[in-house]
């Protein structure tokens, strides 16, 4: 099936070159998109579930990040929205938890 000669050619060896990816060509990061949308819903509509989902999708987007195409801006923005939503919903001035805390 193959020659008896050694097929290896050390002289012809080429070292590995990372393929350069244009950030525009990458498939969109759906988890971080969803995280941003849920985060906005959680903050604007004072929705606890929205904030939790934002946090979870943020985590998912962060976990699925590949080393080559690290685009932190969107994830960081989504994370900011999620944290803002959590704070507004649980410690903000209009929340139930805060009312019971101060009323005591």
């Amino acid at each position: 099936m193959s020659d008896k000669a050694d097929p290896r050619q050390p002289a012809a060896a080429k070292p590995y070159v990372h393929p350069v990816m244009n950030p525009v060509d990458l498939p969109p990061d759906y988890p971080s998109l969803l995280a941003v949308m849920c985060g906005v819903i959680g903050v604007m509509l004072r929705n606890k579930i929205g904030s939790w989902f934002a946090l979870i999708f943020c985590l998912q987007s962060f976990i699925n990040m590949k080393n080559v195409e690290t685009d932190l801006k969107q994830v960081v923005m989504a994370f900011t929205f999620a944290v803002m939503g959590m704070i507004t919903n649980y410690l903000g001035p209009g929340s139930k938890a805060a009312a019971t805390q101060t009323g005591g």
Binding site: P27, K48, G94
Partner: protein, 508 residues
């Protein structure tokens, strides 16, 4: 371009639409406006409530002060008290009332404490429920603080307005048992998510290492065929490159006929719980893609693919080069591939030359396929690859078995090596070559024409830009008079150009 091409177009469009710059800006603006709006609305409501409250207070104060003109012993008319315990439980903020209360307490001594609850209840009936819902507790608090500290009238006066204030504000909030379902579920989900991350990551790593141990280690098949293994430099460089929690790459180079070989392992996202739940709806298997970059002089004009019967048509539409050059090969009168497989080729001659009898017997024939090659998905040889800069590529797609059944892939990996040599050595017959060259030239000319159109448009655009730049420079330098004259001249010239050239003959 086909359906797959359109889908990738849509993906790219969506990606550009949702890029950080545009969407984030609008979202931030929206969020800020929403928060501002909420704050304004909330604070305006509070202002109304607080002002109402304080009006009430003012009224009661006046009432009590009027009443206190009479001897204090007379209780308010509505209140019917069984004992002679007389307490005018006016609003706690009144200083005079407190002083009187203190005197009474001093006089009665211990009795007051026992009768407190009864009196407090009566007081609650007297006062308007809506306004003083929290009142009874506040008075009991107030009195409890007063009894021990008989001398601290001033101190209790200050604390009194404070509980009455939030008492009125707190009225609308229902006081029921707090349920924390959302928080509990959310926290549990997060804990489960993190656990799955670590478990899944380890599993993927184990699978990748198992494959590498079986094929890429010392004296393995890759070691015997390639001189450079792995991506790093140096003797002790790691063999596998981890690109994500489920993507691993193995690189090999230094062999005749080919420049390099890249094996990409794309595992299921076992580390991501949400994707695992998605796999219940649309499952997928662990896949391996082997890309061999052939040397420029080693590969003839060959366009050939083999795929499972069900995926053949999709493959044909997906790959631009297959669509342009190749078609499905139907073979009835000789020993051919297993029923499960379909061959796609530019010419039948190439198909028959590559699928030798030995190969059919050992790998792709009826019996052999079922026994040895269950992990085969597709393979695609091309010298006009539409992806990337390198045009001459052999691509193989397999599924990856479990780590204890890695040996099932051996025959397929051997086939990869075999094809590197086979395609490297293969030479087309003269007729096939001329036909192939003709087709390629045609396609290349078409591509060139399209690119020329684009180039012309680009040149026109650049001319426009340069003209505009010149105009702006002129506007800065010269006076408006000169500019106007220039513009008129330009317009006249344009008009002359656009007017049809009328041929005049002398007729007289």
């Amino acid at each position: 371009m086909g359906k797959a091409g359109r889908i990738s177009q849509i993906h790219r469009w969506m990606g550009s639409l949702f890029r950080v710059d545009r969407l984030s800006w609008w979202l931030v603006v929206l969020a800020v406006l929403a928060l501002l709006g909420q704050e304004i609305v909330r604070s305006s409501v509070l202002v109304v409530a607080v002002s109402a409250e304080f009006e009430g207070f003012g009224d009661e104060l006046e009432e009590i002060e009027d009443e206190l003109d009479q001897p204090f012993v007379v209780p308010p008319p509505v209140l019917k008290e069984p004992s002679g315990f007389q307490n005018d439980h006016g609003p706690p903020s009144d200083e005079l009332v407190e002083d009187q209360v203190q005197d009474q307490e001093l006089a009665r001594g211990g009795n007051s404490v026992a009768h407190e609850p009864a009196v407090v209840k009566k007081v609650a009936e007297y006062w308007d429920e809506d306004e003083f819902e929290g009142f009874p507790e506040d008075t009991s608090e107030h009195h409890a603080s007063v009894f021990p500290n008989e001398g601290s009238a001033a101190g209790s006066k200050q604390t009194a307005p404070a509980p009455a204030g939030p008492a009125a504000k707190k009225a609308p909030v229902p006081k029921g048992p707090q349920t924390y379902y959302i928080e509990v579920v959310g926290t549990l989900f997060l804990i489960a998510y993190v656990t799955f991350y670590f478990i899944g990551r380890k599993r993927n790593e184990k699978l990748a290492l198992a494959w590498a141990t079986h094929f890429a280690c010392k004296d393995g098949i890759f070691d015997k065929n390639f001189s450079l293994l792995g991506t790093g430099d140096g003797v002790d460089s790691p063999l596998l490159m981890k690109e994500g929690q489920n993507v691993f790459k193995f690189y090999a180079s230094g062999r005749r006929y080919c420049e390099s070989l890249l094996a990409t392992m794309d595992f299921r996202s076992r580390h991501d719980m949400i994707t695992l739940l998605w796999y219940l709806v649309s499952p997928r298997k662990d896949e391996m893609t082997i890309d061999v970059h052939m040397n420029e002089d080693a590969m003839d004009s060959v366009i050939f693919a083999v795929a499972r019967r069900k995926n053949a048509k999709t493959l044909l539409k997906e790959r631009a080069d297959l669509q342009q050059f190749a078609s499905i090969v139907n073979v009835t009168n000789r020993k051919w591939l297993s029923e499960e497989l379909t061959a796609i080729s530019e010419s039948r001659e190439v198909a028959f030359d590559l699928m030798t009898d030995a190969l059919l017997e050992q790998v792709f024939g009826e019996k052999a396929f079922a026994k040895f090659s269950s992990h085969f998905i597709a393979m695609h040889f091309t010298d006009q690859s539409p992806y990337g800069a390198h045009r001459k590529i052999l691509q193989f797609k397999f599924t990856i078995p479990a780590e204890d059944r890695m040996a099932e892939m051996t025959r397929l990996i051997t086939t990869v090596i075999y094809f590197i040599d086979a395609v490297g050595r293969y030479k087309l017959s003269p007729q096939a070559r001329s036909k192939a060259d003709a087709t390629r030239e045609k396609v290349a000319r078409q591509a060139f024409k399209e690119s020329e159109k684009e180039r012309q448009e680009a040149v026109l655009r650049r001319k426009e830009e340069r003209r505009k730049a010149l105009e702006e420079a002129d506007a800065a330098r010269f006076s408006p008079e000169v500019l106007r004259k220039r513009e008129e001249k330009e317009r006249a010239r344009q008009l002359k150009k656009s007017m049809p050239k009328i041929k005049m003959t002398r007729a007289h």
